[in-house]
């Protein structure tokens, strides 16, 4: 069957088998390998992408079900050379070690901040509770998302502001 969707702002059309899962469509057909494929059982959340702005586990969505929808993967977070504040937060606050869970974590963080720009630490923990990180103990991930909430325009604007105050 033929499907079309907007992925990271680009319209794509492909011929697929109906049983292809969205995660494999993204990784194998589109070669966007930033989306990771982990447990395959809806538990770990490393395959999270945004579907019409909402985080979904792409191992449990058929590519066919995304036909006509808008998908954002980790490759779509940055705006050109400018990283999303969430990506900057993960750098600033050391929100990753091995990096395997990071794409899913960052997309959930982006959706959370779009919905709730000033989340409490508990709300952040709740938002990422369907995702597993085996390195950080989550503390630095929570701090990374807090950093992004505190810097909605990212580090560039913050640096400029600091320079002004200096």
């Amino acid at each position: 069957m033929q499907i079309s969707m907007t992925i990271n702002g680009t319209e794509v059309t492909r011929e697929i088998e109906p049983r292809v899962l969205l995660v494999h469509f993204i990784r194998d057909d589109l070669r966007l390998t930033g989306t990771h494929w982990g447990c395959d059982t809806t538990n770990c959340g490393t395959c999270v992408v945004l579907m019409d702005g909402q985080p979904v586990k792409s191992c449990t969505v058929l590519a066919a079900m995304a036909d006509g929808h808008t998908i954002t993967t980790v490759e779509g977070l940055a705006n050109g050379a400018t990283l999303d504040p969430v990506q900057q937060g993960f750098m600033e606050e050391h929100g990753l070690q091995c990096g395997f869970c990071t794409p899913g974590m960052m997309l959930t963080a982006r959706a959370l901040l779009d919905h709730n720009p000033h989340p409490e630490p508990l709300e952040i923990r709740e938002a990422i509770s369907g995702q597993i990180c085996r390195c950080t103990g989550y503390a630095t991930i929570v701090r990374s998302i807090q950093w992004a909430a505190a810097h909605p325009a990212g580090a560039t604007a913050e640096t400029t502001e600091d320079e002004v105050h200096a």
Binding site: M1, E17, P18, R19, V20, L21, H24, D40, T41, T42, N43, G45, V48, Q54, P55, V56, K57, T60, V61, L62, A64, M65, D67, T108, E126, A127, S129, G130, Q131
Partner: protein, 298 residues
């Protein structure tokens, strides 16, 4: 790598179209809503439909409507919508309590109330919630609609009264004055099925005694309300001794299996303790709502 067996896929454009597709493709066709129960079963090849009929475009079934004495919930209403609804929290806090602990926030973006009830997993929280709230399932088929009580709708583990050529389209929950409800679950971690859970709905009479009560249990082998507690609670003033008695009756009424989530005596203990807790919370919420009502009237 878990990949479903081959199937053909079609998207329904309306309820009538979905019914026509079910009719055309016959017993080997299955409806997919959020897909978070059916797709994992297909990936494990526990389900192998020839045709998958996707009803995610049926936005007409995604609604929450307070309609006189009834809350009407469209079958395609997502868990997240139920969790975030102020009407639901005010009228049926048991739903909000349950939704907070159903799967995880990302799964809740996709899963639907209709899918959950039709999956009828023995550990499904919303089945218990709908039993406790005496919900009515509206099922549409080629010959029109029929209304089913939860006792008639929910036939047992993984089994409902929805025929192959029918679709659950709405859940109706009667709104009772001077009432409140609560749900509590024990789970090993976020996203896991319940070890055990309990729900209760309570109506208080003007004098403060319990005039109506329903208690349900999840994941402990009971596909009905714990009717044993009703006779001992109705007409009594809420209190710890009464809740303890109800808890003991619930523990006796359930029939749990030992599995990796715990042995039988532990699950009976949870049935007892959780029954006490949800009755305590539901009664205190009902008393608070009666107090609110008095203030408004005053």
């Amino acid at each position: 790598m878990q990949i479903p067996a081959p199937f053909d896929y079609v998207r329904a454009s309306s309820v009538d179209n979905a019914l026509a597709l079910l009719d055309r493709h016959g017993p080997e066709s299955r409806v997919v809503a959020g897909g978070h129960s059916l797709l994992p079963m297909m990936k494990l090849r526990l389900a192998r439909p020839d045709w998958l009929i996707d009803i995610n475009d049926l936005y007409e079934l995604d609604y929450l409507l307070v309609d006189g004495p009834v809350l009407r919930i469209g079958a395609m209403t997502r868990h997240t919508t139920l969790l975030e609804s102020d009407d639901v929290r005010r009228l049926f806090p048991i739903i909000t309590d349950a939704e907070r602990v159903i799967a995880d926030p990302i799964v809740r973006n996709r899963g639907t109330i209709g899918g959950s009830l039709c999956q009828a997993d023995p550990a499904e929280d919303l089945s218990t919630v709908c039993h406790v709230l005496e919900a009515v399932a509206v099922v549409r088929g080629p010959n029109g609609e029929r209304m089913l009580s939860m006792a008639d709708f929910h036939r047992g583990p993984y089994e409902t009264a929805v025929a192959q050529n029918e679709l659950l389209i709405e859940v109706r929950i009667p709104i009772r004055a001077r009432s409140a409800s609560a749900y509590e679950k024990v789970e090993r971690r976020v996203g896991d099925w319940a070890v055990a859970a309990a729900g209760a709905s309570v109506t208080l009479a003007a004098v403060g005694t319990i005039s109506h009560v329903a208690v349900g249990l999840t994941a402990v082998g009971l596909d009905r309300n714990v009717t044993e507690v009703e006779a001992v609670l109705v007409g009594q003033a809420p209190g710890e001794e009464l809740f303890a008695l109800a808890g003991r009756l619930a523990a006796l009424a359930c029939d749990p299996l030992a599995d990796q989530r715990g042995p039988i005596d532990y699950k009976r203990h949870l049935a007892d303790e959780l029954t006490r807790r949800v009755l305590r919370v539901a009664c205190s919420r009902a008393a608070a709502s009666v107090f609110d009502l008095t203030l408004q009237e005053g």
